[in-house]
């Protein structure tokens, strides 16, 4: 048996120290629901099942930390967007609430505990906390830009950055104010929290858009919570190499990157300032061979583990079509290559 528990590995990584090996985890997302045999609508509306699915993922694969993922439209729905729950894919956004810019004035920051699906998520976090023992866990919330895009429509929001920059700042101030409330509420369930900015990668925006319209709000959020001794991580999907320096300079304490981004570059730029998570390609969890998975894990460890402050992770949420064997290959490879020399 391992002398070190998951918590020891995570704490060591956060402090820049060394436990026995590199901590490892997978963003299970919707796959957890498949593993547990629940339908996706059940997974996204039944807190008990949501927690059970994540607990089962922990029991099955023994990751060193786990993210209790809600869905990316949870917060947009709280502001009135219509969300659909298909049987075989993640929830979809059916309507934007800010097709008309003037409607921003009508939006108010709600009390999270009075909104059904936010309560569902809070309950899922609480249940996970009591059901999953000895594994540090984290909740997830949409970042200010991603939420702004979900409220306004991402394409419209991008065009707004040119046509009406004042409106974009107004909307970002609003989503930032909401995140301060929501993060604190999720944190009260006793788990950590990460902010997901699916729409802030350079696969979608430009460095200029990041610097002008997103970075100031990321700084504000990280500083606000740092003053309250609360450290939140940031995950950005896709390719972020052109904005890595900017993201690091926001004061973010933990950053999780996807496989299109360079782990090498991030390690080089961070110089131990931020804890890094990433970035095994998610496609490998569905379609990779054992050899490919081993090679990808080894490469990540060789690139990032030397100075500690690193958690081996999938680049993003793994696909619904992921297979158990491949997740086992990932964890086996972490055990094979992850022990600190």
């Amino acid at each position: 048996m391992n002398a070190y528990a998951s918590k020891d590995r995570i704490v060591a990584a956060l402090k820049g120290q060394y436990a026995d090996r590199v901590p490892a985890t997978v963003m299970f997302g919707v796959y957890a629901s498949k593993l547990a045999g629940f339908t996706l609508p059940q997974f996204f509306t039944d807190a008990k099942k949501h927690a059970r699915a994540h607990a089962l993922a922990c029991e099955t694969f023994q990751p060193d930390t786990i993210t209790i993922a809600g869905d990316v439209f949870l917060e947009a729905e709280a502001f009135g967007a219509k969300v659909e729950f298909p049987e075989d894919s993640s929830p979809h956004l059916k309507t934007s609430v800010l097709e008309n810019k003037a409607d921003l004035g009508k939006l108010n920051i709600p009390d999270p505990k009075k909104i059904n699906r936010l309560c569902w998520y809070l309950e899922a976090c609480e249940r996970s906390k009591s059901e999953i023992k000895d594994v540090p866990m984290s909740g997830a919330c949409a970042g200010p830009w991603t939420l702004a895009g979900n409220l306004r429509g991402l394409e419209r929001l991008i065009l707004d950055t040119v046509d009406d920059p004042d409106f974009v700042h107004q909307l970002m101030r609003f989503t930032t104010a909401w995140i301060k409330v929501w993060v604190a509420t999720v944190r009260d369930t006793g788990i950590g929290i990460g902010m997901g900015e699916a729409s802030a990668s350079c696969s979608v925006i430009s460095p200029k858009v990041y610097r002008t319209f997103i970075k100031p709000y990321h700084e504000e959020i990280f500083n606000y919570f740092k003053e309250r001794k609360l450290y939140i991580s940031l995950h950005i999907c896709g390719y972020i190499d052109p904005i890595m320096e900017d993201v690091l300079s926001t004061g973010v304490s933990m950053i999780s990157i996807d496989s299109p981004s360079s782990l090498d570059k991030l390690v080089e730029l961070s110089q131990g300032k931020a804890v890094i998570m990433g970035n095994v390609a998610t496609a490998l969890f569905a379609e990779g061979t054992k050899r490919e998975m081993e090679a990808a894990v080894k490469q990540c460890i060789d690139t990032a583990a030397k100075g500690s402050k690193y958690i081996l992770c999938s680049g993003c949420e793994i696909p619904l079509t992921s297979c158990k064997n491949n997740i086992n290959y990932f964890m086996e490879a972490a055990n094979k290559y992850g022990y600190y020399k």
Binding site: D88, S89, S201, C202, S206, G238, T282, C316, T321
Partner: protein, 216 residues
């Protein structure tokens, strides 16, 4: 000619008002529609596509350029109908099931339209069956699939397999693209072509039908 060059430059700059104005002037001067399209709009979109390929431009710049192109297309489309110019091919375009991102697909659609294709836009979150039904209905030369997410990328493979099982695969060429998609991935799932950006997608589409492509 200088007017066409200005149109191209304004497309690159993403200045929709200027492109609209210059297009009106070109039409009034009796410049041919094909010339406005090829030497103005498409030339501009190809330049922004190249900048995008070199990571000197990003999706927001592409969106602005596409909007500028559309402003001109609105003026040209009614004239195209009357000009007797026939579409060079028909493309069924969609973002695959499980993925609701429309930006990449829409950009490709605009470029393909500009390049002379007729577009059947199937929308986002398109299940394999919908691609199958559309191909089965006939007249489709190319199926174009888009995915932004790594989590939905595998649906491209599923869709190609479904077309194969339905006995329709050989009837059409398949081109794929999206932020996470690569040439290697396209080859590994048996697609016929891959477009790294919207301009390249239009060129590849032409090439797949044996028309001129990959050149200005």
């Amino acid at each position: 000619m200088s007017n066409l060059k200005s149109i191209a430059e304004s497309v690159v700059e993403g200045d929709d008002k200027k492109v609209e104005e210059l297009t009106k002037r070109a039409i009034a001067d009796g410049v041919g529609i094909a010339k406005i399209l090829d030497d103005g709009l498409i030339a501009g979109m190809e330049t922004i596509g190249e900048l995008f390929g070199r990571k000197e431009a990003f999706v927001p710049e592409l969106l602005l350029s596409a909007r500028a192109m559309q402003a001109s297309m609105k003026l040209l489309e009614p004239l195209l109908v009357g000009s007797g110019i026939k579409p060079i091919g028909k493309v069924a375009l969609g973002t695959v099931k499980g993925d609701i991102h429309n930006i990449g697909k829409d950009l490709v659609g605009i470029m393909l339209k500009g390049a002379g294709f007729e577009i059947i836009d199937l929308g986002v979150d398109v299940p394999p069956e919908k691609f199958i039904d559309t191909v089965r209905a006939g007249g489709i030369d190319i199926v174009g699939m888009s995915a932004l997410l790594t989590t939905s990328m595998s649906m491209m493979k599923t869709t190609i397999e479904a077309l194969d099982t339905a006995g329709l695969r050989k009837q059409v060429k398949i081109i794929i693209g999206g932020a996470v998609v690569t040439q290697d991935y396209a080859e590994s799932i048996g697609a016929d072509g891959y477009g790294a950006n919207a301009a390249e997608a239009a060129n590849r589409a032409k090439k797949l039908l044996g028309l001129k492509g990959d050149q200005k």
